[in-house]
Amino acid sequence: MTDAAALAPAATARAAPPRVPVLDVAGLSVQFRTRSGTVHALDEVSLQVHRGECLGVVGESGSGKSVTAYAVMRLLDPAARITAGRITFGGMDILAASEREMADLRGRELSMIFQNPRAALNPIRQVGMQIADVLVRHGGVTRAEAPARAAALLAEVGIPDPVRRAKAYPFELSGGMCQRVGIALALACRPALLIADEPTTGLDVTTQAVIMDLVLGLARARGMATVLITHDLGLASEYCDRTAVMHAGHVVEAAPAADLFAAPRHPYTAKLIAATPQPGRALSDLAAIPGGLPDLRRGDLPACRFLDRCERAEPGCAVPPLPRHLSEDGRMVACRHPL
């Protein structure tokens, strides 16, 4: 693969057969070295996202969703070490790319929206300037043209009076507005892949729906691949084509979103659905999932990291390897005793 082709994943995706994923994460393992031991944060995580598709990555806090996202962006903490696996983006080997190649890729082909929209913006720089910075860096836009382009982008994400708002500082905008700015920043250069890391967590419920519709509307309109990271299974089932459920650094189940929600196969997915509020069911029917995530610093982690919380667990579940059953209907479940 030549560099030119590697840097143009959108073009590659168009030329190649339709089922070549834009992003292919295969067997990714990540460890963090900390003072209190090595944290086995990700263990053989595999995910694929295709062009125009939205993949939901669902799991509770600490399950490794964000670590996966940062690994794809190559923005992991210096304490992190990728011990195994491959990340291929538009045919390019992300883990082998130079820092310079990554910087060229980020924001142009590979973008990200963050959890806390206000904290993700430079507090002492006008938001229009921040968008202009990205446009000038990647878009071949001159400093003189940038303000007008930035205002146009703000209009595109539904910010009223964009020319005036471009001169605002993040503290002068509401959380929802800040997230719109975040979206404008991420989409400024029409990336091939957008990673949205809990984009609505800090926002109120009405704003949440608006922001989700905006992100996924723009993604669909541009044929982007989207990864939606969320702890909210309901949100994922509503907006995503496929959903991957993560637990303690494993992808325990991946399936088309509707199938997953209708007939979960992994016990954790089933419990997660039972813990998700749904229309027509009383809140008192919600079942909390007993226990917590295992301590990922343990040297003797069992093959299945859910077994302490699982009623179907047997002694055999602890013995490696963790089975990953693939079925013809495009579903994967990592369980010895699936439902």
């Binding site: 962006m73 923005l75 910087a103 060229d104 890729l105 980020r106 924001g107 142009r108 973008s111 990200m112 963050f114 806390n116 904290a119 993700a120 913006l121 430079n122 507090p123 002492i124 720089r125 910075d133 990205v134 860096r137 990647h138 500082y169 503290f171 975040g182 920043l185 991420a186």
Partner: protein
């Protein structure tokens, strides 16, 4: 902005009143009898008493204070017994020398300190970080007058790179036409390269001696602040948007990290004003610090009073400037104020 400045000026008034009271009391609390010094060793008792009355020193303290206020209002800071000149005149003539030295020292300290701090923060616990720690510690340990003597010993006596530490210009140059009173600036304005070089050579060592002492706090604050900012969400986001490292470090991280540094600069400047007094003495610098020291040694009240008051005013002005600078850097301050 003007309204803000006016408000800040008004807020500074009580501080200035405090400075006025303290300078008055301070001068009265100093040991020594100015009347006796002024009259000279051969004077008779009557002569000394006469001078004491002439200076108003025989009156009760509160009366002296009122007289002092009246004189201040007229811009009269008294007459130096040593030089025979009005103190205001002496101070105005010598202030530019001190200001030029202190500002250059601060500039040196800020440049070196911020650079070291940023480099140290980009590679925490790297060799540069450790080297920076050692230099910073040494800088704090050594008093400025000692650093000054050391610099003179090495660069003038041993290496001969620096000119003799005898004031603002070498013997062959004459001061440039007065515009700002800063020789470096005035010589450039006059297009006089020779005088500029001479002034620069003369000021280099004292400014460095003064600045070295301030490098440490600036470097440490910059490093800490920079480390905190580099770990924040918006820096990760800026990297996720592919901004160049230079842009991320300078335009995004450093500008945010400078906020606490600017605050420190104010504090450091007040250290420098203090250290100035001794450095001026070491380098025979004709500033207000050496003026005050000479006056102090002979119980000449008025120049000491004038000096302390000038320092007080400078400090208030400086804090005002830092406030305004802070506003320029951080748009959020306007709202909080």
């Amino acid at each position: 902005m003007l309204a803000v400045m006016a408000r800040r000026m008004a807020a500074a008034l009580p501080t200035l009143a405090g400075v006025v009271v303290v300078t008055f009391l301070l001068a009265r609390a100093l040991p020594g009898d100015p009347a006796a010094y002024f009259a000279g060793p051969a004077a008779t008792r009557e002569a000394v008493e006469q001078i004491r009355a002439a200076l108003g020193l025989d009156r009760p303290l509160h009366e002296q204070f009122l007289l002092y206020l009246r004189d201040l209002a007229r811009g009269d800071l008294g007459v130096s017994i040593t030089t025979g000149q009005p103190v205001l005149h002496d101070i105005l003539a010598r202030l530019p020398a001190s200001a030029e030295l202190t500002l250059l020292g601060l500039l040196f300290a800020a440049t070196v300190g911020i650079t070291l701090g940023v480099l140290a923060a980009l590679k925490p616990n790297g060799w540069l970080d450790n080297a920076c720690r050692v230099v910073a510690t040494l800088g704090v340990c050594l008093p400025a007058f000692f650093t000054g003597l050391l610099l003179i010993y090495v660069f003038y006596y041993l290496l001969g790179w620096a000119p003799a530490p005898l004031g603002r210009l070498d013997a062959f140059s004459s001061p440039p036409p007065y515009v700002t009173g800063f020789f470096l600036v005035d010589s450039l304005l006059a297009g006089d390269a020779e005088t500029f070089v001479s002034a620069a050579q003369q000021i280099a060592l004292p400014a460095i001696a003064l600045g070295i002492f301030a490098v440490a706090p600036i470097a440490r604050i910059t490093r800490g602040s920079m480390l905190a900012v580099m770990g924040s969400d918006f820096i990760r986001a800026a990297r996720a948007h592919g901004l160049s490292r230079r842009k991320v470090v300078v335009a995004y991280a450093l500008r945010n990290a400078l906020l606490p540094v600017v605050t420190t600069l104010g504090m450091v400047f007040s250290f420098l004003l203090g250290a100035n007094v001794l450095v001026e003495k070491v380098f025979a610098w004709p500033g207000i610090g050496s003026y005050a020291v000479e006056a102090l040694l002979v119980s000449d009240y008025a120049p000491v009073q004038g000096f302390v008051m000038t320092m007080g005013f400078l400090y208030v002005l400086l804090n005002l400037a830092i406030d305004l600078l802070y506003r320029v850097i951080d748009p959020r301050v306007e709202v909080a104020a």
